[in-house]
């Protein structure tokens, strides 16, 4: 009977131990998923969650502070992620904090990272929605790398083609490097340039003498002095012209504003009328003189003397 009781006690210890291990495991698992702590809920929206799953960790400042508790498709381009966060870290998460989906290592599972907001921003509340940041994931990097590799391959291929052509003497550069005839042409060109330079030097030597017109032009002082004399004459002529112009201006001012005859002739209408009247009177006088002369010529006394003259 005693042995039977002992067996039952042993069985009891075994059963209690096993159940205790199970309960502790469940509790530890639950605490890892923040099930047995006071939590609050925040949301964020993504266009893609990149394989994020319910239960993935939420990380703030490198610490696991919560888990993804739900992922809901809102529409074809918007996915809402519900995060259950430990109440203790609520005071550190601001309303302008940003949320991003990251990977734990290159092949690891996805996590959500909350970036701290600004100091002046208010603390996040339950059921708030944080802004998300769309990040470049490994697939994008690999895709970009693949594209870059493609470009590099093409560039390498082009370089290979260019060097091949150069080695085969194709194109100007290839001929320049590989063709000896081009070298001869270059030598000839160089000789011609050398000769040209020599000729130019001779011409320049002629310019240095006063034996020819160009040399004299460049080297003789006589021409320069003559030019200087011409310039002096031109200066004095200009001074005379200036003086004449001033006198003309003065005369013009006298005409315009003075009391001379020309001014009155131009601007004084009464004077003009007087002249007109005088001229008319002169004309009338001349007409009368002519008439008088004609009358004298027609008079018999004059004719008498005129006939005697004719008869003679």
């Amino acid at each position: 009977m005693q042995n039977k009781t002992l067996n039952t006690v042993k069985l009891g210890i075994f059963v209690v131990s096993a159940i205790l291990i199970f309960v502790l495991a469940i509790y530890y698992l639950g605490s890892k998923q923040h099930l047995f702590r006071t939590n609050f809920v925040i949301y964020t929206d993504f266009t893609t969650v990149k394989g994020l799953k319910t239960g993935n960790n939420v990380r703030f400042l490198g610490i696991d502070v919560g888990t993804v508790s739900a992922i809901t498709i809102i529409n074809d381009s918007l996915i809402r992620v519900r995060m259950t966060i430990d109440e203790d870290v609520k005071q550190f998460i601001k309303k302008d904090s940003k949320v991003e989906i990251d990977s734990e290592g290159l092949m690891g599972s996805k996590i959500i990272t909350i970036f701290p907001g600004t100091m002046s921003a208010r603390i996040v509340h339950d059921n708030d929605t944080l802004h998300s940041i769309e990040t470049v994931n490994v697939e994008d990097i690999l895709s970009e790398l693949e594209r870059t590799t493609g470009y590099t391959t093409r560039v390498a291929s082009n370089l290979d083609e260019i060097t091949r052509k150069i080695n085969q003497g194709e194109g100007d550069l290839g001929r320049l490097i590989n063709d000896n005839s081009l070298k001869n042409e270059l030598d000839r060109s160089t000789r011609e340039i050398h000769l040209l330079v020599q000729e130019l030097r001779q011409v320049a030597g002629k310019f240095n003498t006063t034996e020819n017109d160009m040399g004299r032009l460049l080297n003789s002082r006589d021409i320069t002095e003559r030019f200087a004399g011409i310039a002096d004459n031109l200066d004095s002529a200009a001074i005379d012209a200036h003086r004449t112009t001033k006198e003309l201006n003065k005369a013009a001012e006298e005409i315009n504003y003075g009391n001379g005859t020309i001014h009155r002739l131009i601007y004084d209408t009464i004077f003009i009328q007087g002249i007109d009247t005088t001229l008319k009177n002169v004309n009338t006088g001349i007409g009368e003189v002519i008439e008088t002369a004609d009358a004298i010529r027609e008079s018999w006394i004059i004719n008498l003397f005129s006939k005697k003259e004719k008869n003679k």
Binding site: L11, F14, V15, S17, A18, A25, Q33, G105
Partner: protein, 264 residues
């Protein structure tokens, strides 16, 4: 011509025997289940069987679990070190043990120890006509012998698996410390990092089914043992084989269902 093609579609003898066996075990399970819930409860016998079938299997399970954790860690470590992911080793080993290896290996050990024990015990009682005597004396052998054993395996196997899983983690921790130093708290933290309720709960439910199947198959084989001494050995052997096969089939179904749940 028609007769030949008709005969081709008929199951041959071994296939027919398999289906016959499955049907008989299912019917036996229904009968036992009814007896389990029938009053009065055979509590002393249940406790005795739990001690015999469960507690006495504990040393074997503990040793197996410890070795399992150690071996798994030592085998996986070089591969993960090559990938520079040694820190993932505790999580990987824990998931492997909790989800699959722990329940299945321990269930197979229980099938070997418990199912064969029940088969042999009930088989010898059948051969020696003790079961017949019980029926004559008015004791319900299905309730007293079978239901208590099935109930105790149903309870004990999950507990053995839980303890074995825990010991496996200890073994894994020991193996981890052979090559690198890691604290127990960090090891447990890394172990439980990737573990979810979806790993633990279905695996635990699975072990309950394994326990029930081990009890049922062992009891069925022993209870229906034929006359003759050799049939006792046959019953024990057959119980182990059938229970092991049943464990694998149920495991396959359980994995499919768990996978389906995780997708949903």
């Amino acid at each position: 011509m028609n007769d030949t093609s008709h005969r081709d579609f008929l199951p041959n003898q071994p296939v027919r025997e398999i289906f016959n066996e499955i049907g008989a075990i299912a019917a036996f399970s229904v009968l036992v289940s009814k007896q389990i819930f029938k009053r009065p409860a055979e509590l002393p016998e249940f406790l005795r069987q739990s001690y015999t079938l469960g507690y006495k299997a504990l040393p074997l399970v503990l040793i197996t679990g410890f070795i399992l954790g150690m071996v798994l860690t030592i085998q996986m470590r070089p591969l993960l070190v090559d990938f520079g992911a040694e820190s993932e080793l505790p999580g990987l080993v824990t998931i492997s043990i909790v989800r699959e290896i722990g329940p299945v290996i321990i269930a197979l050990i229980c099938a070997g120890k418990i199912a064969s024990g029940i088969g042999a015990e009930l088989g010898s009682m059948r051969v020696t006509e003790q079961i017949d005597a019980m029926e004559v004396s008015g004791t319900n052998p299905m309730k007293f012998l079978v239901a208590t054993r099935v109930l105790s395996t149903t309870f004990m196997v999950p507990l053995l698996v839980i303890v074995a899983d825990f010991i496996s983690l200890i073994g894994s921790y020991t193996a981890m410390n052979i090559h690198s130093k890691i604290s127990l708290s960090l090891y447990l933290s890394l172990s439980f990092d990737d573990l979810t309720f979806l790993d633990v709960i279905p695996a635990t439910i699975k072990t309950v089914v394994f326990g029930f199947i081990i009890g049922i198959v062992g009891s069925y084989k022993g209870y229906h043992a034929e006359r003759g001494t050799e049939s006792v050995g046959f019953a024990a052997n057959s119980a182990v084989v059938t229970a092991s096969l049943a464990i694998f089939v149920i495991d396959l179904l359980a994995v499919q269902i768990t996978d389906l749940i995780s997708i949903l």
